[in-house]
Amino acid sequence: MSKKHVTTTVNGDPAEFLTDPATSLLNALRDELGLTGAKEGCGTGDCGACSVIVDGRLVCSCLMLAAEAEGKRIETIEGMAQSGVLHPLQQKFLEHAALQCGFCTPGILVAAKALLDANPDPTETETRYWLAGNLCRCTGYDKIIHAVMDAAADMRQVRRAS
């Protein structure tokens, strides 16, 4: 079996790794790059715990081969806080207690960031549909949705002020 050499950008920094041809991007992130924020919940694209952003597009990293990441720009939960300052979504998740066990949280934060990047003013319905591919077995979702809506409102205010 020939290993593939993959050159990519992860959270703004160049990264390279060797991977087996059939290894998922999720496993490469976790095992080759030591980025364990993205989680494997189901491994079949149903739970969203492995969500990352590839070239600006939200994807399940369990449904993408690591070899496909060649030349791509990848954003993971590890890049969300900037210089030790939490992203507004992360801050609001804490304030609203939008997590319990936390296993789904990195995926939900990345998915919510992708939503607000694309649509800074989503309705609650849009937010619920956007996050339908992120399963949480603890919170019952309401706190998560409230945290995302609250973060979106804060971010819009900051944008207006600046």
Binding site: G45, C60, G133
Partner: protein, 291 residues
């Protein structure tokens, strides 16, 4: 352990060559939302994975000179949903693609993958069949154009020969006052597999009379069905109750479903008629707004 490799050829010829020489052990990869799940479960053990996304034209939408559309086989649902001209011309096709999976899956899943995975419940397929879409197939013996309903031949099986794959889809030019719609029934609001799907594509004359109609059904037979009698039931009508009742009956008569955890034969058959009616009314109203 079997030998495994991954390649991303940058030409159609290279892709055909790789698939042909690797034989039955090769699998084509576009979005991967089905293939990676099958690899993980052990159902698929490809010796060679041929990623088609680097082939020129594999990703993207372009409008042909005659007003029809050409869609790259590996174009994701998210890209299709953001293409304003495509959404306007083919709302049913786009709403069908966009029903597949989650936001994450939409970022990857493609029309060709949905078609060639050959699930009878594939959401984009009934809409593409009703749209009379053409799949452009290439392979060792050249290129051929195939109506999409002829690609799947049964659950998980296609009519593609060794070394063949779909490069793009062609959607025909639209006459005035044309529109389509797709509805699927699932017991929840998101993230589920169709119990039944129904696609309707029709064209009206200036007075609102249907001049041409195509109706397709998913998840009620081993492959997606193009139901000619159901389309005929609408032609010459303004979708009055008599025409809708004929459509409903023709749709039910075409069903050959199985009973499984998603629904019984009787239930699926009943729902097929109901969804065909509702999709027809939506397509009719959309077409009327284009008068």
């Amino acid at each position: 352990m079997a030998q495994r490799d991954y390649i991303a050829p940058t030409s159609v010829e290279a892709a055909i060559g790789a698939l042909t020489s690797a034989g039955a052990g090769a699998r084509v990869l576009s979005g991967g939302t089905d293939l990676l799940v099958q690899m993980r479960s052990g159902r698929a053990k490809p010796g060679l994975i041929v990623d088609l996304k680097a082939v020129p034209g594999a990703i993207g939408v372009r409008q042909a000179a005659d007003g029809g559309f050409v869609i790259g086989a590996a174009t994701s649902g998210a890209v299709l949903g953001e293409h304003a001209a495509l959404v306007k011309a083919w709302p049913g096709v786009v709403e069908a693609v966009n029903l597949i999976g989650s936001t994450q899956v939409q970022g990857r899943a493609s029309l060709a993958g949905n078609l060639c995975n050959a699930s009878p419940a594939a959401d984009s397929v009934p809409a593409m069949v009703a749209a009379r879409a053409i799949a452009v197939v290439v392979g060792p013996s050249g290129q051929r154009e195939v109506p999409v309903e002829q690609i799947p031949v049964g659950p998980g099986k296609t009519s593609l020969g060794p070394g063949e794959f779909v490069t793009e889809f062609k959607l025909p030019a639209r006459p005035a006052r044309s529109a389509d719609a797709y509805l699927r029934f699932i017991p929840r609001t998101e993230m589920d597999i169709a119990v039944v799907g129904a696609g309707v594509n029709l064209t009206l004359d200036a007075s609102g009379v249907v001049t041409s109609a195509h109706v397709s059904l998913g998840a009620v037979a081993p492959t997606v069905l193009l139901v000619a009698e159901a389309g005929q039931a609408l032609v010459g009508s303004k979708l009055d109750e008599a025409a809708l009742a004929k459509l409903d009956a023709a749709a039910r008569a075409a069903c050959r479903p199985i009973s499984d955890k998603r629904g019984t034969v009787e239930y699926r058959t009943q729902i097929a008629g109901v969804l065909a009616r509702r999709a027809a009314l939506i397509a009719y109203s959309r077409a009327g707004e284009r008068a």
